[in-house]
Symmetry: C2
Subunit: 79 residues, 2 copies
């Protein structure tokens, strides 16, 4: 089973990487960019019988820093 | 307009970060994890009239390293 974990910074948390990307996009001549936030995308290939609770625990224990980050679990397929 | 850019390593490119996460998940006792790949998620808030071509150029010029990475553009909404 393919699972994508989207990890993004909570709103209000300073995002220097996103700010750097924003700045650089403007320097490259792209106008109309209002905001940029940088996050992580973790692609997991797990056994089909992996429970939602296990996925949740993976995020909470390792993949996301719950103090400053949110995560979203997206199941893609049952291969 | 909210746009998510998913940047992931091309298959065949070594992913030490993904491997470290995989190893650590197993150390935490999560079995059944077959593969882990680590990528980036870049959340853009751009003007509604931003063209697809502009988004493509942003990815090619800055957001993704086309030698080793693929990108996928996902438009979320027209706010």
């Amino acid at each position: 089973m393919k699972v994508h974990i989207h990890v993004s910074l909570k709103s209000g948390v300073l995002d220097p990487q996103g700010r750097a990307i924003h700045h650089e996009l403007e320097a490259l001549g792209f106008s109309g960019v209002n905001d940029v936030r940088a996050g992580k995308l973790i692609e997991l290939d797990v056994a089909d019988d992996t429970s939602d609770d296990d996925l949740d625990q993976m995020c909470r224990k390792l993949l996301a820093n719950m103090v400053i980050e949110n995560y979203r679990i997206e199941k893609l397929e049952t291969a």
